[in-house]
Amino acid sequence: MDELLIIKNLKTYFYTDEGVVKAVDDVSLRINRGQTLCIVGESGCGKSITAMSILRLIPDPPGKIEGGEIIFEGKDLLKLSDDEVREIRGNKISMIFQEPMTSLNPVFTIGNQIIEAIMLHQKLDKKEATKKSVEALKLVGIPRAEEIINAYPHELSGGMRQRAMIAMAMVCNPTLLIADEPTTALDVTIQAQILDLMRKLKEETKTSIMLITHDLGVVAEMAEYVTVMYAGKVVEEADVIELFKNPKHPYTLGLLESKPQIHIDKEKLYSIPGQVPNPFNLPKGCYFFPRCERAMEICKEVMPTLKEVGNGHKVACHLYGGDNNE
């Protein structure tokens, strides 16, 4: 198969006063050309840090990529020089950040920022770049785009900022688009429009998409393949249809059950009991053990490894595959 990105055993750690946070701990994943991979998982489980590691945007200190490989089009991004990475960033790989304000500069107008990105990567002159920026803003459904390019980020609503970022990320036709919760601030009609736009980008330019989202509805609509993370590790992965039909890991099951659904009324929402483990004091065995309703003796002592259980479906849990003796 035509692989675009392969992450092998990535480890990204943060060194804080209280100890080491293993934000990404031995994560492997793969995205084929033209494929959409969705990553879901508990808040704080390392999704954004995985994405930022790909672009080498981890603040150092306190963060450090401690190991692994990130192979993009056959080259290990972790071995490239800073200049080489900068060349790829925003050009071949672009990213929509979870919080637009982190990547929009408050002292420049929206237009300035998009135009600059276009001029930098596409060698267009200012006039052409301006025209293209307005088109890009219109494409993501921003009204009065001609005026908005002269507006500052604080003058936009939350969802408009998010869309400005999306426009910026898509305008350069990236080979890989990393979208970190791209539609969280958007209402469903615009969300549908943006998802459509991403699908089109994928069909027309064979762009691969790494989509981080907690909205299982969006996953069901967009993903071909799904990776579920918990506390810095991949705990389950499968084809999207397989995952929804046949979820295996108790955490995944909990996630699916927690989601309120528009056509189903409930008194109280299901919520996975307990809390995410303290990153400085992780349990010895399975990280999900303290919250797992199906935990067994072995789970407390032994960390389950990711194992194939058929249909290309992989899961890290002692309930499956007789993984008892490691």
Partner: protein, 323 residues
């Protein structure tokens, strides 16, 4: 559910658009354009609508975090816009907001403990000795372990920051909270934890919420009534059951049809809205939705439909009226 705690009448907020070297005002963004509603004690009013339609601005103008252009906001019988600064300060703990963008609303130079504790001390709800315990308690409630207390906002994930904002608002034990997309950055398991927490607090302390969210399944779960906004105005408002079962306004219908459902084998019919979203600086004449409405009639282009009760406290602004 009984007493009215908040009453908003004909609220308007226009932002000036400036242009040119002299920054001359060349027009106005009508972010909130004549919005009226009431909120009762112990009630949750869900507020939904297109991005940029004025939901956050409505919330912030009610709390007087930004000044109104016109209209009236009564909180517990007091006109919020007639209070002196000191009176407003005293009222603050009672009216809180959970901000949509946790990143820019948290001071990067303060630890989480300081962020949540600051207001507690300012309003005399804790002192130097008791503040730590109180902060820890609220953090735990929001699913953040107390070992986070000495860390700074940038050391958190998006969802964790969101919960810091929630903790800060809840710590003051407010009577009324504007929840601006409080759970949109959270994964579903924590989302359900927070939604359950908000419901519990409401049952215990009779909190009232203005709950802004684009996640209609969450809105449906938490709200008693739901209001739908389009281009600065309410176009429909009704009891939750009613609005989800019997939506009248074409925009509400389109909105409901666009909700993603977690089932990859399902292919649904969507009402795709055609046309660009009009500018709030220059909204269409007549019904503001007519440029995109699949049911528009001739009258819609000329005459603004009246926002009125069509029975059972179901308010709607559409010439079709559902009949």
């Amino acid at each position: 559910m009984n007493e009215v705690i908040l009453s908003v009448k004909n609220l308007k907020k226009y932002f000036p658009i400036r242009s040119g070297v002299f920054q001359k005002v060349v027009g106005h963004v009508k972010a909130v354009d004549d919005v009226s509603f009431e909120l009762r004690k112990g009630e949750t009013l869900g507020l939904v609508g297109e991005s940029g339609c004025g939901k956050s601005t409505t919330g912030r103008t009610i709390l007087r975090l930004i000044e109104k252009t016109e209209g009236e906001v009564m909180f517990e019988g007091k006109d919020v816009y007639k209070l002196s600064r000191e009176e407003l300060r005293k009222l603050r703990p009672n009216m809180q907001i959970i901000f949509q963008d946790p990143y820019s609303s948290l001071n990067p130079r303060m630890t989480v403990g300081e962020i949540v504790g600051e207001a507690l001390i300012e309003h005399g709800m804790a002192n130097k000795n008791t503040v730590k315990a109180k902060v820890e308690e609220v953090l735990e409630m929001c699913g953040l372990s107390s070992y986070y207390i000495k860390r700074y906002p940038h050391e958190f994930s998006g969802g964790q920051r969101q919960r810091i904002g929630i903790a800060r608002a809840l710590a003051l034990n407010p009577k009324f909270i504007v929840c601006d997309e409080p759970v949109s950055a959270l994964d579903v398991s924590i989302q359900s934890q927070i939604v359950n927490l908000l419901c519990e607090l409401q049952q215990k302390f009779n909190f009232s919420y203005l709950f802004i969210s684009h996640d209609l399944s969450v809105v449906k779960h938490i709200s008693h009534r739901v209001g739908v906004m389009y281009l600065g105005s309410l176009v429909e408002l009704a009891d939750k059951k009613e609005i989800f079962k019997n939506p009248i306004h074409p925009y509400t219908k389109a909105l409901l049809s666009a909700v993603p459902i977690p089932d990859p084998t399902l292919k649904r019919e969507r009402i795709i809205l055609e046309g660009d979203i009009p500018s709030p600086a220059n909204p269409p004449k007549g019904c503001k939705f007519h440029t995109r409405c699949p049911y528009k009639m001739d009258i819609c282009k000329e005459v603004t439909p009246e926002y009125k009760d069509i029975g059972n406290n179901h308010f709607v602004a559409c010439h079709l009226d559902g009949r």
